[in-house]
Amino acid sequence: MRNAFADELTKLGNEDSRVVMLSGDIGNRLFDKFKDKHPSRFFNCGVAEANMMGVAAGMAMNGLRPVAYTITPFVTTRCLEQIRTDVCYHEAPVTIVAVGAGLAYSGLGPTHHACEDISFLRSIPNMVVICPGDAFEVRGALRAAMQQDRPVYIRMGKKGEPVVHKGPIVDFKIGKAITIEEGSDVCLLSTGNMLPEAIEAAHRLKEKGISAEVVSFHTVKPLDEDKLKQAFSRFKLVATIEEHSLIGGFGAAVSEWLVDSETQAKKFLRFGTPDAFFKKSGEQEYAREVLGLTGHQIADKIIHALS
């Protein structure tokens, strides 16, 4: 996803002279093209994320379209006060781009995990929260964010994830979920880098004669309420899938919506990370397996819930 981000950013930089890139001393060579073309609009802000976010807000308040980028915990929790007060309170159009969502950097340990960021950021007024499901959604989200006049948070995976969409998403809209596969029995609402696992789960379910719809619910705030209404009325089971804590994340947002909209869920399952730090060494695939977040484990749980 991060290569797609850098590439799309370079294009946006060519099209719009207000686009400024701020990086927190990561992404070795990732932004070489952008730097090459727009040397005066690239800033390595160092290992100083709070300052980076304040600088981005100041730029945005004065007509620029800054993108602030580093590893997820450092571009969210490390500078949360600056995001809340400098960016969101001022409605400054800063686009915050995070790499390494959820357990993407599992091997680096809990300091580099990010399973709480959706919760923190979606509770801040004026913030939009987008979790792209693949590289094409990253491109769509970044382009859409730049057209907004407000803060946007884009939560990316890392690199080399499976690409789900066949090509560029021409009508990517913030707050409008994308149906990836149609189905009739259960509906899998996936956000962010869990999309390939959701698709895998749907295929496993199909083998068992269960027809599953897969939706890339890329925007967690604002929620696509039409999609939610349809899902809860049409399907006998709805599941939310995310690589984020069950506290405060996408599934929690949908739960809140259910209660507030007085919608009756027939069956509702939430897949996410538990209320615990994942301390074991190991890569993302291993972490997902331990936490029951792989496609086949999700499918098994759904089959069990339906029986």
Binding site: I26, F74, T111, K279, K280, S281, G282
Partner: protein, 282 residues
């Protein structure tokens, strides 16, 4: 007061420390190769400071890792975890074979030092800028409880970008935390650029001095000088001590030295052999 017994008189055995540092570098290189993990150059950069601390300075007992009177060492630049893991294993905190589980699924050795999991690791680090505030708290806890242990924090130069480092620096000076010593691994490189082209650190010694510290520049690969300066804490100045250690990133292996590609790169089997030759290891 519970007074920790310290062997302050002993002069460092420089030859032995040098040999130990080479062994430590060898272990780090092996681990990086086996796990194909990043941050090799970052770990080699601070190998001499780690050696001075663990093989001469620290008042510690690997058999009693939670001794309340032990000196505390915090690897604030947590991305050099390989250096810490290798050091702790070589000191006997856990079996040396466990180093083979570095970055392996299900193990205790992820790429940054964990919290409450591995004996000898005083604090989980990896998010830069946390070690010194934690260290100040540890030092004050010692003061309040009447335990005169010392607290060492090893910081990277890029870490000096973080505001939290300077908040802690002013705090430590105001509290006259003379049992606190910071070693800055000043290798002039960060993750993606030269340190002084990223944020202006220079003049780094003067900055620490201006923040109220007894600040000194030191050759960060002179293991004897490091050992003496660190062993001398508290040094009678009445202030916390900052050692600005001039280092070379990737130190010890000619083709890694000052080449920041090795911030991310891991060596091939062939490169491991070459490195061992240069380090005088077999």
């Amino acid at each position: 007061m519970n007074v920790a017994v310290r062997n302050t008189a002993a002069k460092p055995d420089v030859a032995a420390l040098k040999a130990q540092a080479a062994k430590l570098r060898g272990k780090i290189i092996e681990m990086s190769h086996k796990a194909q993990a990043a941050h090799l150059a970052s770990s080699l950069s601070c190998a001499d400071a780690m050696t001075a601390a663990y093989w001469h300075v620290l008042n510690i007992d690997p058999k009693n890792p939670t001794d309340p009177l032990r000196d505390r060492f915090i690897l604030s630049k947590g991305h050099a975890a390989a250096a810490l893991f290798a050091t702790l294993a070589m000191k006997g905190y856990f079996p040396i074979e466990e180093l083979d589980t570095y970055c392996q699924d299900g193990g205790r050795l992820a790429e940054h030092p964990p919290a409450n999991l591995l004996p000898g690791v005083e604090a989980a680090t990896g998010s830069l800028g946390h070690g010194l505030p934690l260290g100040c708290g540890m030092a004050l806890a010692g003061r309040i409880k009447g335990e005169n242990y010392r607290v060492f924090a090893l910081l990277s130069d890029g870490e000096n970008n973080e505001g939290s480092v300077w908040e802690a620096a002013m705090f430590a000076a105001a509290q006259k935390l003379e049992n606190v010593c910071v070693v800055v691994d000043y290798n002039k490189w960060q993750a993606t650029a030269r340190s002084n082209e990223t944020l202006m650190l220079a003049p780094l010694r003067d900055k620490w001095a201006a923040f109220g510290w007894d600040a000194h520049e030191i050759d960060g690969h002179d293991v004897g000088a490091l050992a003496e300066a660190m062993q001398n804490i508290p040094n009678g100045s009445g202030k916390p001590v900052a050692l600005i250690a001039h280092t070379v990133k990737g130190k010890g292996v000619s083709f890694m030295e000052d080449d920041n590609n090795w911030h991310y790169r891991a060596p091939t089997a062939e490169e491991v052999v070459k490195s061992f030759k240069e380090l005088g290891l077999s």
